[in-house]
Amino acid sequence: MRKRSSFSKAVFIGTIVFLSLPLLVLVLYSFNESKSGSWTGFSLRWYVKLFTDSPQLWRAFGNSVIVALSSALVATMIGTLGAVAVNWYKFRLRKYLRTITFLPMILPEIIIGVSLLVFFSGIGLKLSLFTVFVAHVSFNLPFVFLLVLARLEEFDFSIIEAARDLGASETQTLLKVILPISMPGIISGFLTAVTLSLEDFVITFFVTGPGATTLPLYVYSAIRFGVSPVINALSVVMILGTVALTWSTRNFLKYIAAK
């Protein structure tokens, strides 16, 4: 055992170094005075530029936030109801719903992006922030669905029967029992949807239209067409932002679960 665990320890340490090193380099370079690669001295100028002189970047950020919040909200509402239906009720097309909530998760993003692009142009829908929203709901929905379903599977059907037995109508059962008990799943579904949406590049790349640049798309064009060290500063801010966001949502979820 001893030898084996030291082997896995070595692999793990190597992996952590491998995973963290590039990010550390980004942090280091974000404080580099020079515009080119070589280190010339410490400076905060790229941070200043990021916050005061990057209007396009912030417009892209705004778009990202709008799409993330709206698509996560819609996906959460639709996906939660779908999970409730699949877990507790019998209806036609139940199998079909399970299959089409599973399929998007196993298909590469590019397929979803390309097929939606072809679809939008086929029905004559102009590419815009709205088409980005529609695409994001589509790929977020299965995640919300599965996270809520995983939560619901912890409960027996008798909890619904108990509510009915005590005089609750179907609507009251949904509002007073089902939704409250699935809340941890719903919240983590929503937060996952927000993060996946903020993160998405490939699908957005295909379905976006003029003026509907999201932050990942902005980063992409910055990488592609001339890297400004502002991107380094942006990366650091984004890393810190996601870490802070994730850390607080985790604690929030723990708090909810403990309550």
């Binding site: 409960f155 027996d156 008798s158 909890i159 029967e161 108990a162 509510a163 009915r164 037995d165 005590l166 005089g167 609750a168 009251q172 007073k176 029992v177 409250p180 008990i181 809340m183």
Partner: protein, 378 residues
């Protein structure tokens, strides 16, 4: 207080009549022409092994399943067309089914809040019912902070607050450990005495059913085999299945050789002639089964003085004595190889009998009054 704090037993609740109910799931017949009449205020148990249909029957009474045919009458009114909340029937679920997001208080108050009862009324009534189940001190806790027994009591209070006329209990004690089960059983009994409504109790545990029920229906494979008081069920089982399912027993087949009144003489392979009681004696020559409970058999080293009429005596060798504290069980093999189970209580100082040990030759004796004819095979 609604359940009338005084000691006297108030009889409320409803008659429940189940008529020719049939239900199947696919090819599986869950209930096959089941008819049961349950009296107002009775503590009635549906007893049987898992898959016998008892839970399905309970779910039909609750309104969670509909039978293919038959009727369910509450006080003479057919309730099958009514939804679960329209029947004055409430259920205590097997796994409690407490709402995890609500406190004990809010769980109990759930149905009153749905009815939009005034806050003061809710407070008073929930307090009453929490007192009934002795949980006043835990009102603010969440179900996850309660022990199994406490959860069970919340489930009972929550079901009773609606003042149902029938309370359905679906294996309510199965999730508790043995000691707690005994305790909760006594408590259930006392709640039943206080409230006085009809309790219909589903269980697979014959001990539970025997100790609390006014009457029991024993079920197997979708059919009701026998309905009767615990004594009737235990002492005069109607079928071989009932005899074997309830308690421990000795069950044999035999041929009827003579009949006089309610006493029947049987010829049993390996025992010789045995006298048993039969309420409806079959004709001479019938093939029958008969039973004798192990604790009704006296075991001794001497041949019993059979001065009394109707005492059966059999000799044998102790095959295996099993000591279990307050009693001992013996497996006694007759010369021809039949095995009888005998249970001997360990008595006080006045019991002067010698110790019985492995390989001892013993005499077994039992009264014809304690041995019952069970089934007529042909």
């Amino acid at each position: 207080m609604e359940y009338g704090g005084a000691k006297q037993k108030t009889v409320k609740g409803s008659d429940v009549v189940i008529e020719h109910v049939r239900k199947s799931f696919g090819d599986f017949k869950a209930l096959d022409d089941v008819s049961i009449g349950i009296k107002k205020g009775e503590f009635f148990s549906l007893l049987g092994p898992s898959g016998c249909g008892k839970t399905t029957l309970l779910r039909i009474l609750a309104g969670f399943e509909s039978p293919e045919s038959g009727a369910v009458l509450l006080d003479g009114r057919d309730v099958l067309s009514l939804p679960p909340d329209g029947r004055h029937v409430n259920t205590v679920f097997q796994n409690y089914a407490l709402f995890p997001h609500l406190s004990v208080f809010e769980n109990v108050a759930f149905s009153m809040r749905l009815k939009k009862a005034p806050e003061s009324e809710i407070r008073a009534k929930v307090a009453d019912y929490l007192q009934l189940v002795e949980l006043q001190a835990h009102a603010k806790k969440k179900p996850s902070q309660l022990s199994g027994g406490q959860k069970q009591r919340v489930a009972i209070a929550r079901a009773l607050i609606n003042e149902p006329s029938v309370l359905l209990l679906d294996e309510p004690l199965s999730a508790l450990d043995a000691k707690l089960r005994q305790h909760m059983l006594i408590e259930l009994d006392s709640i039943h005495d206080k409230i006085g409504i009809t309790f219909i109790y589903v269980t697979h545990d014959q001990q539970e059913a025997l100790s609390v029920s006014d009457r029991i229906a024993v079920m197997n494979a979708g059919e009701v085999l026998q309905i009767g008081t615990p004594q009737e069920i235990y002492e005069a089982p109607a079928t071989d299945f009932v005899a074997k399912f309830i308690g421990e027993t000795n069950l044999y087949e035999a041929d009827v050789v003579s009949v006089s009144g309610e006493t029947v003489e049987l010829s049993v392979e390996g025992f010789g002639i045995i006298k048993v009681t039969a309420t409806e004696p079959p004709p001479v020559g019938s093939r029958v089964s008969w039973t004798i409970r192990p604790e009704k058999i006296r075991i001794g080293l001497e041949e019993p003085r059979s001065s009394r009429n109707g005492i059966n005596a059999v000799s044998g060798v102790v095959d295996e004595p099993i000591y279990s504290g307050f009693q001992s069980k013996f497996y006694v093999r007759t010369p021809s190889g039949q095995v009888l189970k005998v249970i001997k209580q360990h008595a006080d100082w006045s019991d002067e009998g010698p110790e019985i040990a492995w390989k001892d030759s013993v005499w077994l004796s039992f009264s014809a009054e304690d041995a019952y004819l069970v089934e007529v095979k042909r």
